[in-house]
Amino acid sequence: MSPEMINILLSIMTASTPLLLAATGELVAEKSGVLNLGLEGMMLVGAVIGFATAVHTGSASLGVLAAVLAGIAMSLVFAFLSLTLMANQVATGLALTIFGTGLSALMGAGYVGTALQPLPKLTIPALSDLPVLGPLLFHQDALIYGSFILLIAVAWFLYRSHAGLVLRAVGDSHDAAHAIGYPVIAIRYAATAFGGGMAGLAGAYMSLAYSPSWSENMTAGRGWIALALVVFATWRPGWLLLGAYLFGGIMYMSLYIQGLGVNLPSQFISSLPYLATIVVLVMISRDRLRIRLNAPACLGRPFFAAG
């Protein structure tokens, strides 16, 4: 494999990681029955807070941590409104995105144009010298490793642990879960907060590793694409990985083609990821039965414990 190919693959990994992180978090939230459409807003706030923290402290790790906390804080606003006060989850998610877009623009106004070193690569000795696989698998920044570890951890949690079983049960029937004594709302709060933290992490990846810089609306719809990915994966972690890398690939290709100087307006190529999202969504959704078999039955439905 030529060095150029390896570079392309590396760039695809970088483009895919924020999608994978955000979608992994949303998957957990949706498995518990919570549909949080505020991913985009949480990612933006995570991106700007992570960036600002890294600029001021000089520590990328603190930046990442701050972004995660910011994402969690945002998701708790969502959780309070939609879980405690039972507001419509679709509307609340939209409000979160509108709010997050404004908040990140306000906070980030002073950071536009500031540059930062990208996240350092973690090199695994010896293995990173392997041809092809070395640079791809063993010479990456921590969050790329993290995205894989977190996905595997989530898959293990959901399907191998009792707590994960409880979480899926809450998403399947909150009434039954309540009847046998599980704290539905508390479990959903936790799942929502995890989704928020992951969205913050995805935002931090955008501003600290992918760009690395801050610009208004820099996520450019990735939060929404991550939401579509969860549907694409029909709520299964393995497919999430495939989908995130497929879309990372498409995003990278649209940049790559423009770089080649193809005689096509750049805007047409830039719209590819969005059009691809629609196409993929249609392909998956047309199989209604499959969606219904896999979608958490209580997704988006408010729960009120009488008595």
């Binding site: 459409l37 606003v77 309070f80 409104l81 006060l85 039972m86 507001a87 419509n88 679709v90 509307a91 609340t92 939209l94 409000a95 979160l96 509108i98 709010f99 997050g100 877009t101 404004g102 908040l103 623009a105 306000l106 106004a109 450019a220 719809g221 929404w224 939401l227 579509a228 549907v231 307006p265 805007q267 047409f268 830039s270 719209s271 969005y274 059009l275 999202t277 629609i278 969504l281 249609v282 959704s285 047309r286 209604r288 969606i291 009120f304 009488a306």
Partner: protein, 365 residues
């Protein structure tokens, strides 16, 4: 202390309308706190934001000019949201309306004719409808979620507009700026009151609200939409066509958003540029909720949100605050509104977790 919710069993008429008022008050209080945090005198900042824009001679007409697109889109969205059709791509449909209408304006140039502007109106409606027809088709034929498809199409619409104004439609005499030529007089929205920017779109927005109210509250069609939104199975039981109603909601919302787009570019802006909307399509979502998904409420809510735009501009000029403040306040307003709406179906109970021992047994019979 313990805070609990108790179902009322029935909608509270008082809180249906009280909730937005309370939400507005809470937003103003929060805004004052945010201003203070940003180092401003809260009273002065609130004055600048809420009152000052209305004090000048052009204040009120400008408010309506800003409100017109919000009302047009908001009416369409509230009809859709009532039917549980979540068209959140109005921004894209707005853009397509501007492009379709703008195409004719650019074709005729300085030419004149009574038919030009009406034709632009029809084209803009068509443009918005086409863009909304895509999610409608994908939803009814393939079950694809309209939230995601309509939103993705918004990004595509913006890229399409950018392509046109930087490419084929770019004004050769525009000093390289990404914009088209100014529309000719025959392709500009008629002004209602001389010396102001108050254009025909304002009147049409009010008419749309009135018509929307008639449809939603008085007609069989509106009834069907409301049933579909509240209880889809009951709609099937009654024999209403779900696919037809989804199509209708999206086409209506798209057409109105397209019309709003046209009035922006043929009105205050006068040409096509890459940024023809300060997020009207998204703000209109807030307008729809604040207006209780009721077309007449949408008019009031449209004026309130229009004020937030004017206030944001005033705050930017007078106080040097970034424009993003507007978006934050809009988001906070929607948060408060959604939170306060809990009071419509539930009453708050403070105190110990002990209901009063009053016997209300008869009421359940």
């Amino acid at each position: 202390m313990w805070l609990g919710l108790e179902p009322r069993g029935q909608r509270s008429a008082f809180w249906t309308y009280g909730s937005p008022v309370l939400a507005l008050l809470l937003t103003v209080v929060t805004a004052a706190i945010i201003f203070a945090a940003l180092g401003q005198d809260p009273a002065e900042a609130l004055w600048t934001f809420l009152i000052e824009p209305l004090t000048s001679a052009s204040g009120l007409p400008e408010l309506f000019v800003k409100a017109a697109p919000l009302i047009l889109i908001g009416v369409g969205l509230s009809i859709g949201f009532r039917a549980n059709v979540w068209n959140i791509g109005a921004e894209g449909q707005f853009t397509l309306g501007a492009i379709f209408g703008g195409w004719l304006a650019l074709r005729v140039g300085e030419g004149s004719g009574w038919w030009i502007f009406p034709a632009m109106l029809l084209l803009s409606i068509l443009g918005g409808m086409i863009w909304a027809a895509i999610p409608a088709f994908l939803k009814t034929r393939f079950n694809a979620n309209e939230i995601l498809t309509s939103l993705m199409l918004t990004y595509v619409a913006q890229l399409l507009l950018l392509y046109l104004v930087t490419g084929p439609w770019k004004d050769p005499e525009g000093y390289g700026f990404p914009q088209t030529a100014m529309f000719g007089d025959g392709a500009t929205a008629p002004i209602l009151i001389p010396e102001t920017r108050l254009h025909l779109g304002v009147l049409i927005a009010l008419a749309a609200a009135l018509l929307g109210w008639l449809i939603l509250s008085k007609s069989l069609l509106g009834f069907q939409l409301r049933v579909l939104g509240s209880a889809p199975r009951a709609a099937r039981f009654a024999g209403f066509s779900e696919a037809g109603l989804i199509w209708l909601s999206l086409l209506l919302g798209g057409g109105l958003a397209g019309l709003a787009g046209l009035f922006e570019v043929a009105g205050p802006i006068g040409q096509l540029t890459p940024s023809i909307s300060p997020g009207y399509g998204f703000t209109a979502i807030i307008v729809a909720f604040l207006g209780r998904l009721h077309p007449l409420g949408v008019v009031l809510a449209g004026l309130v949100l229009a004020l937030s735009y004017l206030g944001g501009e005033a705050a930017q000029i007078d106080l040097g605050l970034p424009n993003a403040v507007t978006g934050i306040f809009q988001g906070i307003l929607l948060f408060y509104l959604l939170g306060c709406d809990v009071l419509i179906l539930y009453r708050l109970r403070l105190g110990r977790k002990q209901p009063p021992a009053k016997h209300l047994r008869e009421a359940s019979r």
